[in-house]
Amino acid sequence: MPLSSQSSASTVAERLADIVGERHVLSRPSELLVYNSDGLPGYRRQPKLAVFPGTREETIAVVQLLAAEGLSFVPRGAGTGLSGGALADDIVVIGVHRLKQIISLDIENRRATVEPGVVNLRLNKFVAPHGLLYAPDPSSEAACTIGGNVAENAGGPHCLKYGVTLNHVLAITVVLPSGDVVELGSRTGERDGYDLRGAFIGSEGCFGLALDVTVKLTQRPQAVRTVLADFMSIDAAARVTSSIISSGIVPAALEFMDGPTIRVVESSIYAAGYPKDAEAILLIELDGLEAGVVADLEVVRQICLDGGARNVKVARDDAERLKLWQGRKKAFGAMGRLAPHLIVQDAVIPRTRLSEILAAIHAISEKYDVLVCNVFHAGDGNLHPNIAYSADDPDESERVHKAMTEIMRACIDVGGSITGEHGVGLDKMGYMESIFSEPSLNAMCELRGVFDPDHRSNPGKVVPIHSCKEWHSVTSARTREQALAGAHAATGEPPPLAAKPAHPSAQ
């Protein structure tokens, strides 16, 4: 019963509607339009159906139905991802946004169990009155879901000190693509055996769907200080970043914005009071015990001044602090002012190489005559070069993609990674072979095969399918959805960025 035929799609839609109710199944192309991209608008894929279960039981029943029918699906949180990871190419989207219960909160043991559709910031607001916080804070925190955070192993500015999602998730109840339900990790303690929870985190929807997630909560720090240091040279700011890191102080966050980004933010509604004439600013946050923060603040201030900072300002109060952060967190949004499309990278480099890589990025942007805005987690070496462009202009698109490919190459060449927090998705799949050998990619495929033997959960993402030795040879004719490869009517689709183009059946 190929889903590609209209009649079977409507039968499946009816059966899904029997589970979740008619209003929670979408099948008309016009209704599905909103699900045809994620936060990276350059990629578009039209789903066949979208289903939105409202309870755990409904979710399991939906997955079981799809399993019985041999149909592929893509789990989707809020769709704020930046890798094209939540796109469904003529298959079913399972949206989790209705699964938004905070199931339990254990204040004394500092943990909470939540459904996957709970929005990150909502969880934080919920636990704040108890002096607690959930540390991973992606810039999309106001919209993104915990389920999506787990799938992507999401980070955020404060991950510099507190760690990423994988360091804060204790247990996950998962419905596997087969419809079986398993508990990974332990809600109550540590356990032995394989760290399947660790394997699931960051699996980008390819290993199944989380039904609930138990997270560790962190005590709110006694004191927080946010510092704004501005520089008349990018290089000086990069060197100061490296100096702060090598001083051994671990700031809660250490963020970098270059001149073009500052000016975009300052002319938007998110204006934070950054000096518009600066070539770079660092936003440095220190937290912990008051006395310790005060001592570290002095060291950081001195490093900034010695490194050529023009001004080093400490936010006077919470309002000023939040304003400084607002500008940073909404910077991607502000770039919408520049052009209709945005491409953003997520490479990570060794922190001592920041200065040379930023210089390389600058040279590449001049070579291809594109405007690169750099706003990123400098303390982690996690770069986010952004290029705003119009995908409708083929010449500009080509220059943008060439520039991005060269930037990525430069980052890989200094021993970096292709993605620090956004995930591989569709966007970076072509680069996987640049950093992983064939056996490594095959091992990842095999691991996926344990969770999802038929590769029905988020097919065609993360690992290029031609890297999956056994699966590819045995099942090349099996999954009908893959036969639809190339059928996507994307507008402004970026060309393959990789040195090696992805295998056709991987799309």
């Binding site: 760690g163 109550t188 090598s246 006395a291 922190r351 970096g416 990674s417 056996p439």
Partner: protein, 381 residues
């Protein structure tokens, strides 16, 4: 020795159908279930620093590098790998990651999985596989690094690891608080510490037997390690003095601490919600069997019990004799997990035949070690 040597050993093992007993420096072969192996494969010779840029606070080493060597190399730059698993610093980093072994510093710096950036391993087909990377943040590909951590060599022979380092704290001091017989007072002290500004690097409760082994007398003790810049430590010291009378001890206490279960014939960890077992734990510390050495990390919710060699060996006694009854009871509680590190050989099938019997774990094992040659049986079948 190199990755190629390991690859050759694995190919040889596949051909001759001779399973391997994989180890670091073979210091801890008594841990884990009995291994049905015919040949030893030690990583002892595969040691050394591959890459260390102190400014990046990252380190890549071969798996056979000892923790002592890592301490020495990073110490030259005033940095450290804050990982202090039980055993001696003669143990290797490969074995530490493979067994996910952690010590008191895990309270503040996390478990091995939290400090690991990436690794290289050779799977059971003799293929060289890499997971993760060498930078501090990385989500490229499925997480093979976490999967291998704690897999006890059964999914691959770890040959190289990349780790996150920290700057050595400017101040690093340790204090003891002598605990009385009243378990409620102990539980109250731990609660008070949790509610105070204290954020100890390490916090461990030890019973009288353990205290004796640490040369701290024979009364139960609470050992607190405070570190950071001097302002941070001063503030915490002040807070500590308001809670209890404490006495400073030499930092070498932690070296002795790591050797607490030397010559134990069984080592068991109990893990649960910190609050759930706090009362019990305090009671156990106050009143424990004469030959059991106990340390408790109340903030992690982990209690570690070592039964010393003086107890009747299991060849003459039953499993129940070797494992304190209160532990077996605790294990029946669904909120508590028992993690067995070391037991007399014949006790394993009774108390913990396998921790990898679920279908996902079996599936993982099958794809990474299809010929069943890597430490077979150490985690059970």
């Amino acid at each position: 020795m190199s990755t190629e040597t390991i690859v050759a050993a694995i190919h040889e093992s596949i051909t001759s159908r001779a399973p391997l007993r994989i180890s670091g420096r073979s210091n801890w072969l008594s841990a884990g279930r009995p291994v049905k192996a015919q040949k030893a494969l030690s990583l002892r010779e595969d040691a050394g620093v591959v890459g260390y840029v102190s400014g990046d606070l990252t380190l890549t080493v071969r798996a056979g590098t000892t923790l002592a060597e890592i301490e020495r190399v990073t110490g030259e730059h005033d940095q450290w790998l804050p990982l202090d698993p039980f055993g001696s610093s003669d143990g290797t980093i490969g074995a530490t990651i493979a067994t996910a072994s952690a010590g008191p510093l895990a309270t503040s710096f996390g478990l091995p999985r939290d400090l690991l950036l990436g690794l290289e391993f050779v799977n059971g087909r003799g293929e060289v596989v890499r997971g993760g990377g060498k930078v501090v943040k990385n989500v490229a590909g499925f997480d093979l690094s976490r999967l291998l951590t704690g897999s006890w060599g059964t999914l691959g022979v770890i040959t190289e690891v990349s780790l996150r380092l920290y700057a050595r704290p400017k101040v690093d001091r340790s204090f003891i608080i002598t605990l009385g017989p009243d378990e409620r007072a102990t539980a109250a002290l731990i609660r008070a510490i949790a509610a105070s500004p204290l954020a100890p690097f390490s916090l461990e409760l030890v019973n009288g037997n353990a205290a004796r082994r640490l040369a701290l007398g024979d009364k139960p003790q609470c050992i607190v390690r405070l570190g950071g810049n001097s302002a941070v430590v001063d503030v915490q010291l002040k807070a500590l003095s308001q809670l209890a009378r404490s006495e400073e001890v030499d930092q070498s206490i932690w070296t002795k601490f790591r050797e607490l279960d030397r010559d134990a014939n069984s080592v068991i960890r109990i893990s649960s919600l910190p609050t759930r077992f706090l009362g019990t734990a305090a009671g156990i510390v106050a009143d424990s069997p004469p030959d059991v050495v106990i340390s408790i990390n109340p903030q992690r919710g982990v209690m570690r019990l070592a039964t010393l060699g003086t107890r009747e060996s299991s060849s003459t006694g039953s499993a129940e004799d070797s494992v304190p009854t209160e532990l077996l009871e605790a294990g029946k509680d669904s909120h508590t997990s028992l993690i067995f590190e070391k037991l007399p050989e014949d006790v394993w099938p009774v108390v913990s035949p396998s921790v990898v019997a679920d279908s996902l774990s079996r599936g993982v094992r099958k794809v990474f070690d299809p010929y069943n040659i890597l430490n077979p049986g150490i985690l059970g079948d």
